[in-house]
Amino acid sequence: MSTLSSSAEIIYVPLWRVRLRLFWRSLKTNWATFTENPIGLIGLGLIIFFGLFALAHPILMNTAWDRKVYDPVNGFDIEIPFHPSPPSAKHLLGTDPMGRDVLSQLMFSTRFEFALGMISALVTVLIATTIGAVSAYYGGVIDVILMRVVDLVIMVPFLPILIVMSALMHVGMLELALVIGVLSGFGGTAIVIKSQALTVKVKPYIEAARISGGGDFHIIFTHMVPNLLPIALLYMMFVVTSAIFSEAVLSFFGLTEIEMSWGLMINTTQVFGYLMRFDTWYLLIPASLAITLLCAAFYLVGRALDEVVNPRLRER
C-alpha cells in the first residue's frame, strides 16, 4: 500500500504542466514539419520583413525624418520644384504628385494592411467555426437554414455590395475589415469548416462526451471547436490574403475613406494620370509589388501550414 501511494505521489504533476509540455512537444514537431519546406519559410521571411518595415516607420519619423517633409498624408517637400520627382538620396523612392514621400507612405500603410488582415481573419474564423460546428452538430433544419444563408452570401458579388455600402456609410479600415470578415466568414470558409466538423462529429470521443452527460453547448465548444482550430488557422491565412487584396482593389477604385493605403497610392497615381507612364514607375510599382508580396507571403505560409495539418500532402 505504502509503495503504491508513494509512486502515485511521484507521478503527480499538475494538469496545466502536462498540457503545456504536450503543447510544446506538438509545437516542436509541427515546426519541424513546417521548416521542411522552404516555401513556408520564404513566406514567413516576407512577413517578418514587412513587420520590420512597418515597425521602422514610427522610429524613422521620430528620429531621422522631418515630419513636415516625410509625413505620409500631409507631408510636402518644398525644396523640389516639380512633383512627382524621381528617386533621389533624400527620397529613396521619389515623391508622389502631391509631393509626399513614397517610401514613407509605403511603410506607413504596412501596419494598416497587417491590422486589416488580422481583424478580418479573426472575425472570419470566429463566425465560420461557430457556424460550421453548429450546423454539423445539429443538422436538420438548422443546417439547411445556415447553409442557405451561406449560399446567399457566396452569391452576393463582393465589389458591387461594397460599392453600395460605401455610399451608405463611412468605410474606414475597421468597417472594411469587419465587412470582409463577416462576408468571408459566412462564405466559403464556413463550408470547408463544416465538412471538417462533420468528420469530427462522428468521432468516438464526441459520443463519449454525450454519454457522460455533456450538453450540446459544452460538446460543441470544448470538444468540437478545438479540433477544428488547425483547419481554421489555415483558412485564416487565406482570408488575410483576400482581405488585403479586396482593400487594395476597393481603394484602387477610390471607394474607401482610408487616409493612406497601398491601393490608395495606386489610386492617386491613376487620378493624376501617371498610370500608363513608365518613366514614373516609382509611383505604381512599389505599392503594387508590396500588395502582391504580402498577399503571397500569407498564402505561402498557409500552404506550408496545409502540409502540417494535412499529412497526406507531405513528401514522406
Binding site: 452576393v156 458579388p157 460599392i163 498610370l275 502582391t292 503571397a296 500532402l313
Partner: protein, 387 residues
C-alpha cells in the same frame, strides 16, 4: 435523382428570391436617386426633378416598388434602364452577357486544361528546383494585384510591343465604314456560334476516337482537328466574307483580356490540381496500381489524375459562375463592355433596374453553377449518389 433535382430547384428559387430582396433594398437604400444625378444643374427647376421621379416611379414607397419589380421580373419583364433610358434591361443584358461569358469561358477552359496538365506533372515529380519555382510562379500569379497585372500586360503587349489594341471591344475607326445595319453584336454572335460549333465537332471527334486502336486514334484526332478548322476557314472566307474584317477586329480586342484572365486563373488551377493530386497519390489504389506493374504514365494519367480532378472541376464551374463579379476588375481595366462593367456603372449612377438585372443574372449564374458542380460530382465520382 429527380427528387433531389426538384428539391434543389425549389431551394434555388427561394435563395434567388431572398437574394433579390436583399440586393433590391441595399440598392434602394443608397442616398439620393437617379433623378438627383440627372438634375445636378442648378438651372433645372425642382418641379422637373419631381416629374422625372414620377415618370420613373421613384415617388412610390420602396416596398411597393419592390413587389412590382419582383412581380414583373417573374413575368419576364426586367424593366427599362434609367441611365440608358428607352432601352429595356433585357436587351442590354443580352448584349453584354455574351461578351463576359466568352471572355471568361475561354480563359477558364484554357487555364483549366493547362493547370490540369502541369499540376499533374508537378505533383508526380516532387522536390527539386522545378517544384519550388513552379509553386512560386503559381502563388505569384494567384495573389498578384489584378489591376496592376492587367496594366502591365497592356503596357507590354499594347504599348511596348504594340501587337494588340490596349482595350475596349472594337476599333471605332474601322467600324466607321461598316455597312448600314451591321451591328457589332451580330458579328460577335456569329463568331460565338462558329467557335462553339467548331469546338463541339472537335470534342465529339476526341470522344468518338478515344476507344479506337492507337493508329486509328491518331488519324481520327487529326481529322477531328482539321475538319472544324477548314469549316471555320470556309465560313469566314466565303460565307461571311463581308464581316471577316470586323470579326478580326473584335478578335484582336479579345486576345489581351483573355490572356490576362487565363494567366491569373492558371496559377490557382495549377496549385489546386497539384495539391489534389498529392492527396490522391497517397490512396491505396495508387499503390495497388503500381504493384500490378502498370506503367508510370498509366498510373499517373488514368488512376491518379482522374480522381484528383474533382476539386479542380468545382473550381472551374465556380469560376464560370462567378465570372460577372470577378469580371468587374478586368473589364474595368480593359474597358471591356461586359456585364461586370455594366453592373459597376449602373450601381454607381443608381440605375436600379439595370443594376438589379445584372445582379440577378450574377446570382442566377452562381446558383446554376453550384447545381452543375454538384451534378458533375456524381458523374466524376460514382461513389457520390443523391437520394
Amino acid at each position: 435523382m429527380w427528387k433531389f433535382l426538384g428539391k434543389r430547384l425549389l431551394q434555388m428559387f427561394i435563395t434567388l428570391l431572398m437574394f433579390q430582396t436583399v440586393t433590391y433594398f441595399l440598392m434602394d437604400a443608397q442616398p439620393g436617386d437617379i433623378a438627383d444625378l440627372l438634375t445636378m444643374n442648378p438651372d433645372i427647376p425642382p418641379a422637373e426633378r419631381d416629374r422625372i421621379r414620377q415618370d420613373l416611379g421613384l415617388d412610390r414607397p420602396p416596398v411597393e416598388r419592390f413587389f412590382k419589380y419582383v412581380g414583373n421580373f417573374y413575368r419576364g419583364d426586367m424593366g427599362v434602364s434609367f441611365s440608358q433610358f428607352p432601352r429595356p434591361v433585357t436587351e442590354i443584358i443580352f448584349e453584354r452577357l455574351p461578351r463576359t461569358l466568352v471572355l471568361f469561358l475561354t480563359a477558364s477552359v484554357i487555364s483549366f486544361w493547362a493547370g490540369y496538365v502541369s499540376g499533374k506533372v508537378l505533383a508526380w515529380k516532387r522536390g527539386g528546383a522545378l517544384e519550388y519555382s513552379s509553386t512560386l510562379v503559381g502563388v505569384i500569379l494567384y495573389t498578384v494585384f489584378t489591376p496592376w497585372f492587367a496594366l502591365m500586360m497592356i503596357w507590354l503587349f499594347a504599348v511596348y510591343l504594340d501587337w494588340l489594341p490596349p482595350g475596349k471591344f472594337l476599333d471605332p475607326i474601322i467600324w466607321l465604314n461598316a455597312p448600314e445595319g451591321l451591328h457589332a453584336n451580330n458579328v460577335f454572335l456569329r463568331m460565338i456560334w462558329s467557335a462553339l460549333i467548331a469546338s463541339g465537332v472537335l470534342v465529339a471527334g476526341l470522344v468518338f476516337t478515344a476507344r479506337l486502336s492507337t493508329q486509328l486514334r491518331r488519324l481520327g484526332r487529326w481529322i477531328s482537328f482539321i475538319v472544324p478548322m477548314i469549316g471555320l476557314f470556309v465560313y469566314w472566307r466565303f460565307v461571311a466574307a463581308g464581316f471577316n474584317s470586323y470579326a478580326w477586329d473584335i478578335l484582336q480586342h479579345l486576345v489581351l483580356p483573355v490572356l490576362t484572365v487565363t494567366l491569373i486563373a492558371y496559377g490557382g488551377t495549377m496549385l489546386l490540381m497539384r495539391t489534389s493530386m498529392l492527396e490522391t497519390l497517397r490512396e491505396d489504389y495508387i499503390l495497388t496500381a503500381r504493384a500490378k506493374g502498370l506503367s508510370e504514365k498509366v498510373v499517373r494519367d488514368k488512376h491518379a489524375a482522374r480522381n484528383a480532378l474533382l476539386p479542380v472541376w468545382t473550381g472551374l464551374v465556380f469560376s464560370i459562375g462567378g465570372s460577372v463579379s470577378g469580371g468587374i476588375i478586368t473589364e474595368t481595366v480593359f474597358s471591356w463592355p461586359g456585364l461586370g462593367l455594366t453592373l459597376l456603372t449602373a450601381a454607381q449612377v443608381e440605375d436600379i433596374p439595370l443594376a438589379m438585372g445584372a445582379l440577378t443574372i450574377t446570382g442566377l449564374l452562381t446558383l446554376v453553377s453550384h447545381l452543375v458542380a454538384d451534378v458533375g460530382y456524381a458523374f466524376l465520382d460514382p461513389r457520390i449518389r443523391y437520394n
